[in-house]
Every structure is written in C-alpha cells, then in structure tokens.
Amino acid sequence: MQILKYNWFFYFVLMLNYLKAQTNSTIQFYFTYNSKPLTISDSTLPLLDSNGLQISNLKFYCSNIQFLKNKKVIVEEKNSFHLVDASNSSSQKINVAITSKLLFDELKFNLGIDSIANVSGALGGDLDQTKGMYWTWQSGYINFKIEGKSKQCNSRNNEFQFHLGGYTQPNYCLETLIFSLADKSLIDINVDVKKIIDQLKLQEQTKIMSPSKDAVLLSKKISTCFEILK
C-alpha cells in the first residue's frame, strides 16, 4: 500500500517533467549596426563609421522576464538575471522554461537590476561581482555598459565610456521593456546599436560613470533601441 502511494507520486513528477520539457521559449538577442551584425572580439575592432567609431564593450542585464496574456502575467522567471554581452554569443540566448502550454501576447523584461538585488550583498551566477558590472567605490550594479572610441569624442584617446545604473531615487535607472507579439517559441530581439550611439551624443559627452539624472535619461532613450524582429 505504502509503495503504491510512492509510485503514484513518481508518475506525477515524471509527468510534470514531461510537460516542462515540452515547452521552452527562447529569447535571442542580436546586435546590429546599420543592419549589419556587430562583432566585438579580441582582434582588431571594425570601424563602424567615417569617424572611426569602434565599440569594444557592450553589455546589459536582462531580468525579471514575464510573459503576459491580456495584461495578466502567465509565466514569470523570478529572481533571474541574465548578463547579455555583445562579445559572447552564448550569453545572447535566454531559454525560459515554461511548465504549461501557454498563449502569450506580450513579453516584458527589465533592462537592469532592481533595487532589492542591489542591496543584497554578494550574489552568484551572472550577478557575481567579478563580471565587471558592479561599481566598487560605491555599491550598486551597472545595468548597461557601452565603451569604445570615436573621433567625435573630445577625450583622452577619443574614448567613451557609459556605465548606466543607480538603484535609489531620484536616480533609479531601471527600465521596463514591453513588447506585443504573437505567441511563438523563438523570440528575436534586435539591439539597434547605431540608434544607441546616436543617443549618446558623443560630441557633447563621452562619459557617464555613476548614478545621475543623465544616466536615468539616457537609459530611457536606450530602452527604445530594442525591437522585436518579425
């Protein structure tokens, strides 16, 4: 009798696992400059425009992924943080395990790290403080980082560095991205890097390195540079 009960339980777990294995959504990020794929590697960086624009580093956090149907959250990836790095193709693909067959019409995620994770001390995985996305002299995660060179920059070696983050008001820098889309298992999102560079206004500023009003404004603008590929 006892054993029979256990067996039922095992079947139940197996069935759950089976369902889980069946549906899996993948979010795939692409980085493009003027519709061409952007490559960042250790070898010589390509020149992207007539000002000798080069991008050496481009990373951001994608967190709290939610799938919605009629504005109601049906699947949510809680407490998960993904560091998406333009120089690392495996980081650009995020699999979200889904335990039931669902039909969603909206995708939502945060660009950056929420304030709770920001005050939770040492964290692991993509949030490990060795990932270079954490300020050290003052606590807090960097949500979005872009670095490179352009002749437009009136700075040492024509370099630019934008480290956007901030988890306290009035400089809370977290952006939420919402996309309407048809239910499908592979979701392609393009990061329009040309549009991002245009927002930076490199002739006027070449650096943001700490939480500030400017960082909040720029994050808002950058959040418009993500688009669903149909």
Binding site: I3, G121, A122, L127, D128, Q129, T130, G140
Partner: protein, 343 residues
C-alpha cells in the same frame, strides 16, 4: 524498495547532522538589538570563517601581493590602522581617509565614513579596486586564488567543492568579519552587574549619557546615523562625507557616527585622523565645534565640561576597551591555515 528508502533516509539524516555541527550560531549579547546582517543568506560555518580569515590576512588580494586587509585593519588597534591619520596602501600611497575600526559589523547597515557601501559582502570590493589601497580587481583575485593549492583546499572544506567564485570569496570575508564582536569590556561587565565603575568612571558615564549618547548610543555606541559633529572642513581634503554619496545638501559634512568601543586603541580619531588623543577630541566638543546648517542639534548649544569632567568622560571611555577582543587568538593571523599550504 522499502529498505532502500530507509537507508537513504538514514544517510540523509546523518549528513544533515554532520552539516549541523559545522554551523556556528551567531551570538547576540544580552540586551543588544537584533543584527541587521541576513545570516540566512550566508549561514556561518567554522570552515567558511576559517577561509575568510585566511583571505583577510592574505596580501594576495593586492596587485603586487604586498597589502592585505589586515595591513590597514590590525587586531591590536581594534582592526584599524593605528598611528596613521590617513591610511597607507600599495606602494606607500596615502589614502584620503582614516581607516575604520572593524567590530560589531553585523549591526551595521551602511559602511564607510560616508555610507557608500550598502552591504558588508560588497565592502571588500572598495579597497581591492582602490588605486591607492590594493589596486587589484576582484576577477583577478579569483583567478589568483584558483591557482593556489591552499585555496582549493580551503574552498573545498568550506563549500564541499573547490569552485572558487567572487560570491564565495566575498561571503567568506564577511563571515570572518561578522565574528569580530566586541562585547566584553568593563562597561559590559558593569551592565551585567558583574562589577562596578569607579567613582570617576561612574561620573564620566553620567556626563556621557547627557552629552554624547544621543549619537554614540549604547550598547553599540553609535546610532548608525550620519551626523555633522562640527569639525571644520579640511581644505586640503575637501571631504563633504555623506554628501558625496547622496548629493543631498542636507548631508553635507555628515559622517558615520563611529562606535566608541575600544576607542583607547583606535587612535588617531575622526575620518581624517586629525586628533591624536581623546583629550583633543573632548576639547573639540567643548571649544572647536563649527556651527553650520547641518550641525547635529545636540551640539548647537555649547557643550560645557570642566577639565575634571573631561577627565571623567575619558575614564569612562577607557572602560569600553575589550582585551578579550583585542587579543582573541581566533581573530589573529591564521598561521595554521597558511602552514597547511606549505605541507
């Protein structure tokens, strides 16, 4: 089938029990508030504390392997840098602030003189990355640790696998620092009714409660706030304290209210180490307070203390020295851990 389940059950209980004995319970002294550190996210164990202690004393955490945390936080001076007004770091660089004494950190929410650090776990990142202190990089520290047999061993003991990550390194450092609890001074014995103040100390205590305790609040001797205690701005350093973090004008010239426990040993005093002696500190409170917008209300009216009363307050402050803490062998250089590496 049933037999198997029973065996697995027994083994699990055994393993659980084994783990259990490894755990270290954090002791909260009687009548102290609950700590703010969330121990559920980083439960203390003997082996993690041991690992953290080795890391704290290891100069490997600096660029050229010369400076350890203990270089600026030495036990005999209550884990600060004694006799250095501004801390000394790598290549004899001189920093911008006086090192802070380390004790009772589990009760603190914000760290540094200006509160720039929001959690004990991430505190170590600041000195490790500071060009004038250790001038290293945490990713590099982790790589260095991964290449050493000693740390493969110590991480294995602490985490049951030898995977070395930034998270584990930082949490282990916290574990050691959390154990630095000072609660066995004469003052504490008096509070526990095990002994009594001398007449002079008792008089000092009364004066202290009247003039100082609103900021240096018992039993931790800090209210964990940022306050302006009327120090004139040092124009060479131009340090506006909390304001540099919040950019809020109301925070200008406010600094962390430091604990006064073990104050006898943590000289020189204040964020820039401007006072060498406790008598200089008391003279500041009676004669040196500069009035401005952010000055703590307690100090807006002049503090009147006769020279005898100052001596009494100092006598009281000396009852905050905790020899057990200053000479606790569990906090000192971990000779044994480093020895096992060589064997």
């Amino acid at each position: 089938m049933q037999k198997k389940i029973i065996i697995i059950f027994c083994i699990s209980i055994f393993l659980l029990a084994f783990h259990y004995t490894e755990n270290v319970t954090f002791f909260v002294p009687k009548n102290w508030p609950q700590p703010v550190y969330d121990f559920t996210k980083n439960p203390l164990t003997k082996n993690k504390i041991e690992l953290g202690r080795a890391l704290f004393y290891d100069p490997l955490l600096s660029r050229n392997n010369t400076i350890s945390c203990a270089s600026c936080h030495s036990q005999y001076s209550a884990f600060t840098h004694s006799d250095h007004a501004l801390s000394h770091g790598i290549d004899d660089s001189i920093g911008n602030r006086n090192s802070l004494a380390l004790m009772n950190l589990a009760w603190q929410k914000l760290f540094m003189w200006d509160g720039a650090v929001n959690h004990l776990d991430v505190q170590a990142l600041a000195p490790i990355h500071n060009k004038l202190e250790m001038d290293e990089n945490i990713a590099n520290v982790v790589t260095k640790l991964q290449n050493l047999k000693l740390y493969k061993f110590l991480f294995y003991k602490a985490y049951n696998d030898s995977n070395i990550t930034g998270e584990r390194t930082l949490k282990a450092l916290s574990q050691f620092m959390l154990t630095l609890v000072s609660s066995n001074s004469k003052y504490d014995s008096v509070m526990r009714k095990q002994t009594q103040f001398t007449k002079q100390e008792g008089n000092g205590y009364t004066l202290f409660k009247k003039n100082c305790a609103s900021c240096h609040t018992e039993p931790l001797f800090t209210n964990n706030q940022f306050m302006n205690n009327g120090l004139p701005l040092d124009s060479a350093l131009n340090d506006y304290g909390r304001y540099t973090v919040t950019k809020n004008a109301n925070d200008s010239l406010k600094f962390k209210v430091p604990t006064l426990r073990n104050i006898e040993f943590s000289h020189p005093y204040m964020h820039d180490g401007r006072f060498k002696k406790l008598s200089h500190v008391l003279n500041h409170y009676t004669k040196g307070v500069v009035k401005n917008k952010t000055l703590g209300i307690e100090l807006q009216n002049e503090v009147n203390l006769s020279s005898n009363e100052k001596v009494d307050i100092i006598a009281f402050l000396l009852t905050l020295s905790d020899k057990k803490f200053l000479f606790n062998p569990e906090f000192s250089y971990p000779k044994n851990s480093f020895q096992t590496a060589k064997d």
